[in-house]
Protein backbone atom coordinates (compact mmCIF):
# COMPACT_ATOMS: atom_id res chain seq x y z
CA UNK A 1 0.00 0.00 0.00
CA UNK A 2 2.77 2.46 0.91
CA UNK A 3 4.52 2.24 -2.51
CA UNK A 4 1.25 3.12 -4.25
CA UNK A 5 0.70 6.07 -1.93
CA UNK A 6 4.27 7.29 -2.54
CA UNK A 7 3.73 7.07 -6.30
CA UNK A 8 0.53 9.12 -6.01
CA UNK A 9 2.36 11.71 -3.89
CA UNK A 10 5.25 11.93 -6.36
CA UNK A 11 2.80 12.49 -9.22
CA UNK A 12 1.02 15.22 -7.23
CA UNK A 13 4.32 16.94 -6.40
CA UNK A 14 5.50 16.72 -10.00
CA UNK A 15 2.30 18.44 -11.14
CA UNK A 16 2.90 21.04 -8.44
CA UNK A 17 6.47 21.62 -9.68
CA UNK A 18 5.22 21.96 -13.27
CA UNK A 19 2.69 24.55 -12.15
CA UNK A 20 5.50 26.43 -10.38
CA UNK A 21 7.56 26.23 -13.55
CA UNK A 22 4.65 27.65 -15.53
CA UNK A 23 4.46 30.61 -13.13
CA UNK A 24 8.23 31.01 -13.23
CA UNK A 25 8.22 31.19 -17.02
CA UNK A 26 5.10 33.33 -17.37
CA UNK A 27 5.81 35.83 -14.63
CA UNK A 28 4.50 38.49 -15.35
CA UNK A 29 6.37 40.39 -12.65
CA UNK A 30 9.64 39.82 -10.82
CA UNK A 31 8.05 39.06 -7.42
CA UNK A 32 5.91 36.39 -9.12
CA UNK A 33 9.07 34.68 -10.28
CA UNK A 34 10.72 34.91 -6.86
CA UNK A 35 7.61 33.42 -5.30
CA UNK A 36 7.57 30.62 -7.89
CA UNK A 37 11.21 29.81 -7.13
CA UNK A 38 10.54 29.81 -3.40
CA UNK A 39 7.61 27.44 -3.86
CA UNK A 40 9.76 25.21 -6.03
CA UNK A 41 12.30 24.96 -3.22
CA UNK A 42 9.60 23.93 -0.75
CA UNK A 43 8.12 21.37 -3.15
CA UNK A 44 11.59 19.98 -3.76
CA UNK A 45 12.01 19.45 0.00
CA UNK A 46 8.78 17.44 -0.01
CA UNK A 47 10.03 15.40 -2.99
CA UNK A 48 13.33 14.64 -1.24
CA UNK A 49 11.51 13.56 1.92
CA UNK A 50 9.43 11.19 -0.24
CA UNK A 51 12.60 9.85 -1.86
CA UNK A 52 13.97 9.20 1.63
CA UNK A 53 10.90 7.12 2.53
CA UNK A 54 11.02 5.29 -0.79
CA UNK A 55 14.62 4.22 -0.24
CA UNK A 56 14.33 3.88 3.57
CA UNK A 57 17.35 6.05 4.03
CA UNK A 58 17.86 8.84 6.54
CA UNK A 59 20.66 10.35 4.50
CA UNK A 60 18.28 12.50 2.45
CA UNK A 61 17.34 14.45 5.56
CA UNK A 62 20.50 16.51 5.45
CA UNK A 63 20.03 17.56 1.84
CA UNK A 64 16.42 18.53 2.59
CA UNK A 65 17.64 20.67 5.48
CA UNK A 66 20.29 22.33 3.31
CA UNK A 67 17.78 23.09 0.54
CA UNK A 68 15.40 24.58 3.13
CA UNK A 69 18.13 26.93 4.32
CA UNK A 70 19.47 27.84 0.88
CA UNK A 71 15.93 28.49 -0.38
CA UNK A 72 15.18 30.92 2.40
CA UNK A 73 18.49 32.77 2.09
CA UNK A 74 18.09 32.97 -1.69
CA UNK A 75 14.56 34.36 -1.51
CA UNK A 76 15.55 36.97 1.07
CA UNK A 77 18.66 37.96 -0.88
CA UNK A 78 16.78 38.50 -4.17
CA UNK A 79 13.95 40.40 -2.46
CA UNK A 80 16.45 42.52 -0.62
CA UNK A 81 18.16 43.28 -3.90
CA UNK A 82 14.87 44.51 -5.36
CA UNK A 83 14.14 46.60 -2.29
CA UNK A 84 17.52 48.29 -1.89
CA UNK A 85 19.51 47.63 -5.04
CA UNK A 86 22.10 46.02 -2.79
CA UNK A 87 22.29 42.85 -0.74
CA UNK A 88 24.79 43.74 1.95
CA UNK A 89 24.66 47.38 2.98
Amino acid sequence: MLPTVITICIVALSIALLLNLYRLAKGPTLPDRILALDTMYINTIALIVLLGIMQSSLIFFESAMLIAMMGFVGTVAVSKYILRGDIIE
Binding site: T29, A46, M65, A68, V76
Partner: protein, 118 residues
Protein backbone atom coordinates in the same frame (compact mmCIF):
# COMPACT_ATOMS: atom_id res chain seq x y z
CA UNK B 1 5.41 -2.92 9.45
CA UNK B 2 2.08 -2.94 11.32
CA UNK B 3 -0.91 -1.95 9.26
CA UNK B 4 -1.92 1.01 11.40
CA UNK B 5 1.50 2.62 10.99
CA UNK B 6 1.31 2.17 7.25
CA UNK B 7 -2.19 3.68 7.15
CA UNK B 8 -1.19 6.65 9.32
CA UNK B 9 1.95 7.32 7.28
CA UNK B 10 -0.09 7.12 4.08
CA UNK B 11 -2.70 9.54 5.42
CA UNK B 12 0.01 12.04 6.41
CA UNK B 13 1.72 11.74 3.03
CA UNK B 14 -1.50 12.15 1.04
CA UNK B 15 -2.52 15.07 3.23
CA UNK B 16 0.87 16.71 2.62
CA UNK B 17 0.82 16.09 -1.13
CA UNK B 18 -2.72 17.45 -1.39
CA UNK B 19 -1.82 20.72 0.32
CA UNK B 20 1.44 21.13 -1.61
CA UNK B 21 -0.55 20.69 -4.82
CA UNK B 22 -3.26 23.13 -3.69
CA UNK B 23 -0.62 25.75 -2.90
CA UNK B 24 0.91 25.40 -6.34
CA UNK B 25 -2.50 25.48 -8.04
CA UNK B 26 -3.15 28.70 -6.16
CA UNK B 27 0.17 30.08 -7.41
CA UNK B 28 -0.69 29.24 -11.01
CA UNK B 29 -4.38 30.06 -11.00
CA UNK B 30 -5.11 33.18 -8.93
CA UNK B 31 -5.34 36.45 -10.86
CA UNK B 32 -2.90 38.85 -9.19
CA UNK B 33 0.36 38.70 -7.29
CA UNK B 34 -0.90 39.40 -3.80
CA UNK B 35 -3.54 36.69 -4.08
CA UNK B 36 -0.96 34.25 -5.38
CA UNK B 37 1.08 34.93 -2.27
CA UNK B 38 -1.50 33.17 -0.10
CA UNK B 39 -1.16 29.71 -1.66
CA UNK B 40 2.56 29.05 -1.17
CA UNK B 41 2.84 30.65 2.27
CA UNK B 42 0.09 28.63 3.90
CA UNK B 43 -0.83 25.54 1.95
CA UNK B 44 2.61 24.49 0.71
CA UNK B 45 4.21 24.98 4.11
CA UNK B 46 1.57 22.84 5.78
CA UNK B 47 1.93 20.30 2.98
CA UNK B 48 5.62 19.81 3.66
CA UNK B 49 4.85 19.76 7.39
CA UNK B 50 2.41 16.88 6.89
CA UNK B 51 4.85 14.94 4.73
CA UNK B 52 7.63 15.32 7.27
CA UNK B 53 5.35 14.08 10.06
CA UNK B 54 4.62 11.00 7.95
CA UNK B 55 8.32 10.50 7.28
CA UNK B 56 9.15 10.85 10.99
CA UNK B 57 6.61 8.21 11.91
CA UNK B 58 7.91 5.90 9.19
CA UNK B 59 11.54 6.12 10.31
CA UNK B 60 10.60 5.83 13.98
CA UNK B 61 8.97 2.53 13.07
CA UNK B 62 11.83 1.39 10.84
CA UNK B 63 14.72 2.20 13.17
CA UNK B 64 12.90 1.28 16.40
CA UNK B 65 14.07 4.57 17.79
CA UNK B 66 12.33 7.92 17.97
CA UNK B 67 13.50 10.10 15.05
CA UNK B 68 12.78 13.76 15.33
CA UNK B 69 15.58 15.32 13.31
CA UNK B 70 13.13 15.96 10.52
CA UNK B 71 11.00 18.03 12.84
CA UNK B 72 13.76 20.63 12.55
CA UNK B 73 12.90 21.11 8.86
CA UNK B 74 9.23 21.67 9.70
CA UNK B 75 10.13 24.09 12.45
CA UNK B 76 12.53 25.93 10.16
CA UNK B 77 9.94 26.17 7.38
CA UNK B 78 7.23 27.43 9.71
CA UNK B 79 9.56 30.16 10.94
CA UNK B 80 10.91 31.17 7.53
CA UNK B 81 7.77 30.92 5.35
CA UNK B 82 6.10 34.03 6.84
CA UNK B 83 9.41 35.90 6.75
CA UNK B 84 10.02 35.20 3.07
CA UNK B 85 6.35 35.94 2.21
CA UNK B 86 6.67 39.25 4.04
CA UNK B 87 9.84 40.31 2.25
CA UNK B 88 8.54 39.26 -1.19
CA UNK B 89 5.33 41.23 -0.52
CA UNK B 90 7.43 44.20 0.51
CA UNK B 91 9.45 43.93 -2.70
CA UNK B 92 6.19 43.76 -4.70
CA UNK B 93 4.83 46.88 -2.99
CA UNK B 94 8.12 48.60 -3.75
CA UNK B 95 7.84 47.71 -7.44
CA UNK B 96 4.17 48.81 -7.43
CA UNK B 97 2.89 45.50 -8.73
CA UNK B 98 -0.61 45.80 -10.14
CA UNK B 99 -3.35 44.34 -8.01
CA UNK B 100 -7.11 44.43 -7.87
CA UNK B 101 -7.45 44.68 -4.12
CA UNK B 102 -9.15 47.77 -2.78
CA UNK B 103 -7.27 49.96 -0.36
CA UNK B 104 -8.51 51.16 2.95
CA UNK B 105 -7.14 54.01 5.02
CA UNK B 106 -3.59 54.61 3.82
CA UNK B 107 -2.07 53.75 0.46
CA UNK B 108 0.79 51.34 1.08
CA UNK B 109 2.69 52.47 -2.03
CA UNK B 110 3.07 56.03 -0.81
CA UNK B 111 4.48 54.89 2.49
CA UNK B 112 6.83 52.62 0.68
CA UNK B 113 8.13 55.59 -1.30
CA UNK B 114 8.75 57.56 1.84
CA UNK B 115 10.64 54.70 3.34
CA UNK B 116 12.69 54.18 0.21
CA UNK B 117 13.59 57.86 0.09
CA UNK B 118 14.70 58.09 3.67
Amino acid sequence: MPLWVEVTVSVFLLFGAFFALVGSIGLAKLPDFFRRLHGPTKATTLGVGGMILGSMLYFTQMEHQFQFQELLITLFLFITAPASAHIVAKAALHLKVQHKAKHTEQQPEEEQDKEADS
